[in-house]
Amino acid sequence: MMRFAVPAFAILVLVFMISPIFVIFPLSFSSGSVLTLPVPGYSLQWYEDFFFSERWLSATKNSFIVGFATMFLAGILGTMAAFGINYSDFRGKKLILAALSLPMIVPLIVTATSMFLAFSIVGIANSLSGLVIAHTIIAAPYVVITVLASLQTFDMNLLRAALSLGAHPITAFREVVMPMIMPGVIAGAIFAFATSFDELVIAIFITGPGQFTLPRQMFAGLREFLSPTISAAAVIMVLLSFVLLFFTELVRQRGERLKASSNE
């Protein structure tokens, strides 16, 4: 009895968690013009609407620009912070680590409000660069955490060996440390991209219509025109998430292999 009950229950939980996401799929192919189930028929009109609308394309473009910029900035800053924290031993190290992960814990709405006020003062509210900075702040902690995790298994003697062999610390970092912690860096960077890509609250606060990102545009669509185009946009975002998940898994597997070799 238990032999079947446990797997059955597990499958039920899985269905419970995932199925809401899939509701959006039939909706996006609906031939009707309202967001209701069941769909009257199937068509690609909402995808057409998405790909031929200036508004949606510009939002997609903005999302990618902000996403990649955030990934890049948060990737660099987070990696450097993680390495510094891991490498050196100083008083207040725990405090700094806690401060770094603060943006993950503080309610997003609070962060968004403060950023809006702060950015208004320096004049970068209502700009893509402002959004990039804001997203970098909330995404960098993810990079710090994933890179710290991969540094846990990094053998510091490798760095010492490189230095003893005549490598300048920067060269040693680039040639020996980076290849070994790359899985963590990439995983963190993907997290950073994903964080930025689906971020709405801050986007509401610090973007004007000219800087709308995909989530912001969907939010606007939901409130203003309730067009099924947002379901097409949603499906596109879900598929992109799958791609990201696939990459993260690929990187993780590669990491496992390298880890196995460095522990040998």
């Binding site: 003697n157 010492r160 490189a162 003893s164 490598a167 020996v176 460095s262 040998e264």
Partner: protein, 368 residues
């Protein structure tokens, strides 16, 4: 080693503390001669590895100075010191092949491609791993990996080679083989080597000189023969090789070094050597090595009798154990032909040693 050569490396009054209170290394004075093989030997936490790390440039001394060829190197970063280094866990770069690992220090020195491949090949031949150039470190056995690490530490003609317990991860047979290999390399390359280990056999078999560390201080430094034959204190005596430690009381002193001591656990008076003045009645520890105690015929002068508590078979030799408690027991090493095969625990045996082989230290004080 050679007194005529000026010291290569000099540690002068070096202190190292991580927290400002406990000194891991304190008041270290050490000179390393050019081309010598010096081993730092000691238990973990004795300061030997920290000393090596300071010389490598991974740690800075809290006080004192370190000079190399007459120049202070305390402010010279590791990558400019030109010291080869070998680690216990090999520290080969896992994402590079064996050849790339060896090429790394040469690339850092901006050496031309063709010369790099020549030198890599030559050095791999020196450690007899010529066929392994394209392997990844993961595909090597422990012994091979450590030979690659060794090759990588010498391929760029370093000014000296530092080794931090390089054989610690290998099994016994491989260790012994690698000891000979390292010794051969030292001989062929004519290079200064500083070797850190907690294994006294390694220290004895490989070194020109050994420095025994304990509590952040050098207890004694000298040739393996000096360290083994004339330990300066009880710590060195018990750390370098096996040693029996017997409780005794001084009964008679003379004009020379030879004194008489009454062994409390065996009820016998024996002749021993003391490097320091002793007073009659003083409590002492008599230290004598298992191979220096012999079974003698009954009635031999200066001998004493003891009851065997255990006989342990070691293949090439036997060990006889005397005395009631483990703490005050006496173990001796005998060849099979020295005793009769019928000997059993409980039997009484006459034991004898040369007075110069039994050393006396003050009871209690480790550093006496």
């Amino acid at each position: 080693m050679n007194q005529q050569t000026p010291p290569h490396v000099v540690f002068r009054d070096v202190d190292k503390s991580y927290d400002g209170k406990n000194r891991v290394v304190s008041g270290l004075n050490l000179e390393i001669a050019k081309n010598e093989f010096l081993t730092l030997l000691g238990p973990s936490g004795s300061g030997k590895t920290t000393t090596l790390m300071m010389l490598a440039g991974f740690e800075a001394p809290t006080a004192g100075s370190i000079t190399f060829e007459g120049r202070a190197i305390t402010d010279v970063p590791t990558y400019k010191r030109d010291f080869g280094m070998v680690f216990q866990n090999y520290a080969l770069f896992p994402h590079m092949t064996v050849a790339e690992n060896l090429a790394f220090p040469l690339r850092m020195r901006k050496i031309g491609k063709s010369e790099i491949s020549d030198r890599v090949k030559k050095t791999l031949d020196v450690v007899k791993l010529g066929d392994f150039a394209d392997r990844k470190p993961l595909q090597l056995s422990g012994g091979q990996a450590q030979r690659v690490a060794l090759a990588r530490s010498i391929v760029f003609d370093p000014k000296m080679v530092l080794m931090d317990e390089p054989l610690g991860a290998l099994d016994k047979q491989l260790r012994e083989h690698m000891q000979l290999e390292i010794k051969r390399l030292h001989h062929e390359l004519n290079i200064t080597m500083l070797y850190v280990t907690h294994d006294q056999t390694e220290a004895l078999t490989m070194s020109d000189r050994v420095a025994v560390f304990n509590d952040g201080k050098i207890q004694q430094i000298g040739t393996p023969q000096e360290m083994y034959g004339a330990p300066a204190n009880k710590f060195v005596a018990s750390f370098m090789g096996e040693n029996n430690s017997l409780n005794g009381k001084v009964t008679k002193t003379g004009s020379g070094n030879e004194i008489s001591v009454y062994l409390e656990d065996f009820g016998a008076e024996v002749q021993v050597t003391s490097s320091r003045a002793r007073e009659v009645g003083q409590s002492v520890k008599v230290m004598v090595r298992p191979e220096d105690v012999h079974v003698a015929p009954n009635g031999t002068q200066g001998a004493f009798t003891a009851k065997i508590t255990d006989i342990v078979y070691y293949g090439d030799h036997l060990r006889l154990v005397f005395g009631a408690s483990a703490e005050s027991s006496l173990t001796i090493r005998v060849q099979h032909h020295e005793i009769s095969a019928a000997l059993e625990p409980g039997a009484e045996v006459t034991l004898k040693w040369q007075p110069e082989h039994a050393l006396v230290f003050k009871a209690g004080d480790v550093l006496d």
